[in-house]
């Protein structure tokens, strides 16, 4: 049974030296489930959670070939924001921000959502123009977002060089106060714990190696631990999603690219906002632990490798020092990479496929962590009701066959 987390329970268990119950339990595979979710990242776990909580569907298995959160959900730089470019994008991500705002209390797990503000810098008049466009669309959707000038940027980020002497002078920024960062692992674990408490079974180290399709309908999945029958399979495998879909005979317009990130050694907190520069291909935030977390755009070639490259850290360092020249002495401690499932229009694919019962929640590219809650909620509704919720109706797989793409390239390429 789950025990409630609180300051008091922490203290009393701490003093009595009592351990906490399992955050999620281990199970044998059952022969049948009402639904099988592939991928225990934020998307799979959130979908499982909302299936159980909002729709009472609890006989659900979440399968992952590795440890929970070992994909993009445990490797991302955890930027949350909703200042996208298209009205459908803004509405969708804004719902996610709203869910994140109450997630800690809902899950009784502190996900440390730090709404510290998000700055996207403009170094030329064309990005300034796009930012104005974004700000105006955001405001019309009720999302707090405004174009600000160099002086305001300097007061938010005193370390920023906003002088005109730099190679790419900072002309302004899109400022989005509700944006921020979150503790990604906590989100994954919190959803897992919440789903587990309601009877969802989470199976780590269980790889899906086949999907049974008969007469255009899903019947079950083959796993490294045995066979399961189920009428519904939801693919939430991000970087691996095109491989997994192929097991069901569904081709996705997705190519997988590595995305790298790095952190520095900790220093006393001096950066209280998230800073993104599309022109310089870099973004940076500082965690409460004091580490600077950096990211950039994806590697230019498709690959399933999660190794970091030296060029990445070199470029990143050069660009960061363009922005904040006084931190040259800070040292990079660790670099890593994750896989991103890129679609041609920088927007996700959510919903049904030509195979009945085989659903996808994929194409999350470099920006999918922030969408975990809303995508989970919407996909759970689709599984439970068979109807595609409005909020995700612009993102069907079919759009690639009939030319109705969603235009988020401008707002999602580096910004995540």
């Amino acid at each position: 049974m789950t025990a409630r987390y609180s300051a008091l329970s922490l203290l009393s268990r701490g003093l009595r030296g009592r351990n906490w119950p399992l955050v999620w339990r281990r199970h044998e595979l059952a022969p049948t489930y009402d639904a099988v979710i592939i991928g225990a990242g934020v998307h799979g776990l959130a979908a499982a959670y909302y299936l159980a909580v909002n729709h009472g569907i609890r006989n659900v298995a979440v399968l992952d070939r590795s440890y929970l959160g070992g994909g993009g959900s445990g490797r991302n730089t955890a930027i949350i924001r909703s200042n996208y470019l298209t009205p459908e994008g803004v509405r969708f991500y804004d719902r996610s921000v709203k869910l994140y705002e109450t997630l800690a209390s809902e899950l009784n797990f502190n996900v440390m959502f730090s709404q510290r503000g998000h700055l996207t810098l403009a170094h030329n008049d064309s990005s300034l123009r796009t930012m104005r466009w974004r700000a105006e669309v955001n405001k019309l959707q009720g999302v707090d977002s405004e174009v600000i000038g160099p002086d305001e940027i300097k007061s938010l980020v005193p370390y920023m060089d906003v002088s005109a002497q730099t190679r790419y002078p900072i002309l302004g920024a899109l400022y989005h106060p509700p944006g921020g960062i979150i503790r990604h692992d906590a989100v994954n674990w919190g959803y897992a714990r919440g789903a587990d408490a309601r009877g969802v079974q989470i199976h780590e180290y269980t790889e899906v190696v086949g999907i049974d399709v008969e007469e255009g309908r899903v019947r079950g999945v083959q796993t490294s631990r045995g066979h399961i029958s189920t009428p519904v399979v939801l693919n939430c495998t991000a970087g691996w999603s095109s491989l997994v879909s192929r097991l069901a005979g569904v081709r996705l317009p997705i190519s997988t690219h590595p995305l790298q990130a790095a952190v520095t050694e900790p220093v006393k907190v001096f950066l209280n906002t998230v800073v993104v520069s599309g022109t310089l291909h870099v973004y940076v935030s500082q965690t409460d632990r004091g580490e600077l977390v950096f990211g950039a755009s994806t590697d230019p070639y498709p690959s399933y490798s999660t190794r970091g490259s030296l060029e990445f850290t070199e470029e990143l360092a050069g660009h960061v020092l363009e922005l904040m020249p006084s931190i040259a002495a800070l040292r990079v401690l660790r670099q890593w990479a994750g896989l991103c499932d890129m679609t041609p229009d920088f927007s996700p694919i959510m919903g049904e496929t030509p195979v009945e019962g085989f659903l996808v929640d994929v194409g999350w590219g470099t920006y999918g962590f922030k969408a975990g809650p809303v995508a989970g909620e919407a996909m759970a509704e689709l599984v439970a009701t068979g109807k595609t919720p409005d909020l995700i109706s612009s993102f069907p797989l079919s759009r690639f066959a009939d030319g109705r793409l969603v235009g988020e390239k401008g707002a999602a390429a580096v910004g995540h």
């Binding site: 209390s105 002078p169 907190v269 409460d288 970091g308 360092a317 006084s326 002495a329 401690l333 235009g407």
Partner: protein
């Protein structure tokens, strides 16, 4: 308190150094050179060669920091770069490894993570609430009430460990260097030195990299025999013509032996990143001594045996006065002997090989006693542990090797399977006498040289680890990760809660996430996890070691930051004529010369010239150029005759507009294509990709010419008159009509290309002259046109001119979704062509009809110039379109715009509502895109 205030307070009489020993045989300090420095507001003096901690330890300093969570005092543990409790602030530089950084005169060193002082730390109250602060406690609390989280967060972030940065820090000098050694040896201990010598003798160019300040590894703190061997090896290295880097660390190994080295200790360079493409990499980092886990294992005074030997033998510092030694190996025994030799009382040696053990270390602030497993209690101020080794396999991991657990030796060692270009030698591979290690190194060096093409192949006799008792934790709980304040109890609690794999336990407890990245901590963490879960260390394995092996500064990674900028050959003129610079991607070019409106008027009434050198230019040669043009552009190209130019639009696969420009046919199989300035690289790449992947059979050569030509546009009713004065080309309207191209001389410069096109809507000529004559032609135009009223104009004037004319700019009036039909370019799209990039998508769009149109728009109030990006709205939130271009027109004396609106609002004279950024809503009238001279009479004249 700032470093400066502390320094000012420091008393001027330096502290005594009661723990300094008489000269030691292998000491690395120079007693003839005194180095004064400040620590925590007090003056100290060390010797040249001292590290910060060795000099302070000589003066009896025991505590160097406090831990970030429990605020526990921390002292010397390893006396090496890994020393977890000895990270300090030196001036503006945070997180300096005090046990590896050599003293420099006048250094101002202050402790980190102490508030208000090192001795009295208010956060020590944390100890009272320690039971509350178990691993991951923050996930379980601070959740409610929700509005308070920002306040909680501020408190939590106060605890951030590490030093300070300053926004005003003056960036120091960093550098980069490239090198291509045949053999690169990482680690200058006995095996590494021997390998380097042997490889060099075989004729290979060798780079030997050592993290510490001198070569020798563990030989440096050995006895007479080791020191003698060290002397021999150093002499060999010196003779063999090897490049040696000390105080430098091999930080990463990437694909194809691309190797990063952080080099320190250079005069005037803070840190240098060396990038080496090494033929063969020999990994010889030795072994890292592993701390032992027991209650109080972090008290200042608890040290590893190697720390004791470093302090005594390298720095002549007595690490304490009364010692207890827990030894499971020869190194521990040697430490006990060293202590005894220099007069430190060794009260007891506990032999772990015989099952003797410590239970806990006791003391307030620093160590005062040890409780032994048999229950006895011994007073002491030094507890030495020698309980095992960790092989630093990370460079091998980066080369794809998985370490394997060796249960007999109780350590991981390299697994099977390394690329041919990577070898390992020394302690990381196995144990042996100095001679055995040197022999292994020598053989490995010979093999490395042979693989790099020098000398003949050699056989390397295997070297295996010696058996070692498996010791990780005593019967009590202690710290497994010092900087992160994670104890074995935390690891067990995390495992019990279900965070029971190496990855999950790391993420949940943050063990191994600190400054040493697990080099000291990983194995103990995994061992405790194994104990907690009943699984074996083998089964659990470690987390993946990621680069860098040791942290590298942003400064060194960046090198000398100098992002390239591109300028046209006319830049010197622009600079001396008050041009306002515009940063346009790679290019920096004149935005205006101070008065864009006047520049516009000059073009409309007389003649203006603009430097358009950044326009992308590609020379296309070959019989299949027409095919390429037909495939890349949406319009037709088959009938372009010699002497003609044509406007074209390119779309991507998704039908979205990629670029536009004109292409002219200069000869039978010679074409010149122009692209937008920002699209030059993309278009080149796009065309090459078409040629190389889809049509490898087409015979076309593409030569980028952007910077080979300087380009100038001469625009205005008097442009013909001006240009005629300078060229032999017949410019008369009949001889050289609109949309034609000619070649000829301009201002005595041969091989110029002239085309008659018009972005501004005026009669105009675009000329491309060999770049080295750009400035000459530019000046000649201004000189010869003075009486005609010629005036240079910049990008801003050009934007206004083209907006008046209603010409779109790709990427401003189009975006990542704009297809040809949306932008009103549908007439150009020739769907009856066989094939072209984007055809299927455009076919769909053609069938469905575009949803939106690009239109002209004029605010009803002509004085309001809406910001670009403003939305055209309907009611509170409905969006009908947006403004893409907006300016005040000097010609029409009013504001004019280009905008997208939904089809049903695109009829001229429709009145729509524009929402301004400040929230005001204003009416505006839809017009055709062209605001000025819709018939084009001026252009064609």
């Amino acid at each position: 308190m700032t470093a400066r205030v502390r320094a000012a307070r420091s008393s001027r009489r330096p502290a005594e150094t009661p723990f300094r020993l008489p000269p030691q045989p292998g000491e690395v300090i120079d007693r003839s050179r005194l180095v004064p420095f400040d620590w925590d507001g007090r003056r100290y003096v060390g010797f040249a060669g001292d590290t910060i901690t060795s000099a302070l330890a000589a003066a009896g300093v025991r505590t160097f920091s406090r831990s970030f969570k429990y605020s526990r005092p921390r002292g010397i543990l390893t006396a090496s770069a890994l020393d977890p409790g000895c990270t300090v602030q030196v001036g503006d530089e945070p997180n300096v490894r005090a046990s590896a950084r050599r003293l420099a005169a006048g250094m101002s060193v202050v402790p980190q993570n102490v508030w208000p002082t090192l001795r009295y730390d208010l956060r020590s109250v944390n100890k009272v609430v320690a039971p509350f602060l178990t691993a991951g406690f923050y996930y379980k609390t601070f959740m409610s009430p929700r509005p308070l989280w920002p306040a909680y967060e501020r408190v939590l972030s106060r605890f951030a460990s590490g030093g300070w940065t300053s926004p005003d820090a003056i960036p120091s000098y960093y550098d980069q260097r490239f090198t291509h050694p045949d053999v690169l040896v990482a680690g200058g201990g006995p095996a590494g030195m021997a390998a380097a010598v042997e490889a060099a003798r075989a004729g290979a160019r060798v780079l030997l990299v050592e993290e510490e300040h001198e070569l020798g590894g563990s030989l440096r703190w050995g006895g007479a025999q080791e020191l003698e061997a060290l002397g021999r090896l150093r002499a060999d290295v010196a003779q063999a013509g090897i490049e040696v880097l000390v105080d430098s660390v091999v930080a990463g190994r990437y694909d194809d032996n691309w190797i990063s080295i952080a080099q320190r200790g250079l005069p005037d360079v803070t840190e240098r990143l060396i990038k080496a493409r090494a033929g063969i990499l020999v990994v010889a980092p030795g072994l890292i001594e592993r701390p032992y886990v027991f209650a109080g294992n972090d008290l200042p005074g608890v040290m590893l045996s190697t720390a004791v030997r470093r302090l005594i033998d390298l720095y002549a510092v007595a690490p304490g006065s009364r010692a207890v030694v827990l030894s499971a190996n020869a190194e521990g025994d040697a430490a006990a002997a060293d202590l005894d030799r220099v007069g430190v009382e060794v009260v007891r040696v506990l032999d772990a090989r015989r099952g003797e053990d410590v239970r806990r270390a006791l003391g307030r602030g620093t160590l005062s006693a040890v409780e032994v497993a048999d229950g006895s209690r011994i007073d002491c101020d030094l507890l030495v542990t020698a309980t095992g080794w960790t092989a630093p396999t990370s460079l091998l991991n980066m080369a794809g090797n998985q370490p394997v657990w060796d249960p007999l030796a109780a350590r991981f060692r390299p697994g099977e399977g390394l690329p041919d270009t990577v070898l390992a030698t020394g302690g990381i591979v196995g144990d042996g006498s100095v001679d055995e290690l040197v022999a292994h190194g020598t053989a490995t060096g010979a093999l490395a040289a042979a693989r790099a093409g020098f000398g003949s192949a050699a056989v390397v006799a295997p070297l295996s680890p010696h058996p070692h008792p498996a010791l990780f934790r005593a019967t009590t709980h202690g710290f497994v990760d010092f900087p992160e304040d994670v104890s074995s109890k935390d690891v067990m609690a995390a495992a019990a809660e279900g965070y029971d794999s190496s990855e999950l336990v790391k993420r949940y407890t943050t063990a191994t996430m600190g400054p040493t990245q697990g080099k000291l901590e990983t194995v103990n963490t995994v061992a405790v996890l194994a104990e907690a879960t009943g699984r074996s260390i083998e089964e659990l394995g470690t987390t993946v070691w990621r680069p860098p092996y040791a942290p590298i500064s942003l400064g060194a990674l960046a090198g000398r930051v100098s992002p390239p900028a591109r300028y046209s050959p006319m830049q010197p003129w622009h600079e001396t004529h008050s041009a306002v610079p515009l940063v346009a991607g790679e290019w920096i070019r004149p935005d205006s010369y101070g008065d864009p409106a006047a520049e516009v008027r000059a073009v409309r009434s007389a003649v203006g010239i603009i430097d358009v050198t950044p326009l992308g230019k590609l020379a296309l040669h070959g019989p299949d150029v027409p095919n390429l043009l037909a495939a890349a552009y949406v319009n037709k190209w088959a009938k372009l005759d010699v002497g003609s130019v044509r406007y074209g639009v390119m779309c991507a696969e998704d039908g979205v507009i990629l670029d536009d420009g004109v292409t002219g046919r200069l000869g039978a199989a010679r074409y010149l294509m122009s692209t937008t300035s920002s699209g030059a690289a993309t278009v080149w790449q796009h065309l090459e990709s078409l040629l190389q992947t889809e049509h490898p059979d087409w015979r076309v050569h593409i030569t980028p010419m952007t910077t080979a030509y300087a380009s100038i546009n001469i625009a205005g009713p008097r442009s013909r008159e001006l240009l005629t004065r300078l060229t032999d080309v017949d410019l008369s309207a009949d001889a050289f009509p609109y949309m034609r191209v000619r070649t000829g001389r301009i201002a005595d410069v041969a091989d110029c290309v002239l085309w008659r096109i018009g972005f501004t809507g005026e009669l105009s000529y675009e000329i491309h002259v060999p770049a080295s004559y750009g400035l000459h032609v530019w000046e000649a135009l201004l000189e010869r046109g003075r009486d005609l009223g010629v005036r240079p104009f910049g990008v801003e004037a050009q934007r206004i001119l083209r907006l008046e004319k209603g010409h779109l700019i790709v990427a401003q009036d189009t975006d990542g979704l704009t297809k040809a039909y949306d932008a009103g370019l549908g007439d150009l799209v020739k769907l009856d062509k066989d094939d072209f990039v984007g055809k299927p998508e455009l076919l769909w769009q053609h069938e469905d009809g575009a949803q939106q149109s690009l239109v002209g728009l004029v605010p009803v109030d002509p004085s309001i110039v809406p910001a670009e990006g403003c939305q055209i709205v309907d009611g509170a939130t409905g969006i009908l379109g947006r403004i893409t271009s907006s300016r005040r027109s000097p010609t029409l004396d009013r504001s004019i715009c280009l905008a997208y609106v939904l089809k049903q609002y695109a009829e001229p004279d429709t009145v729509v509502t524009v929402r301004l950024p400040d929230g005001r809503r204003i009416p505006a009238t839809v017009t055709p895109p062209t605001h000025f001279d819709p018939e084009g009479a001026r252009l064609r004249g």
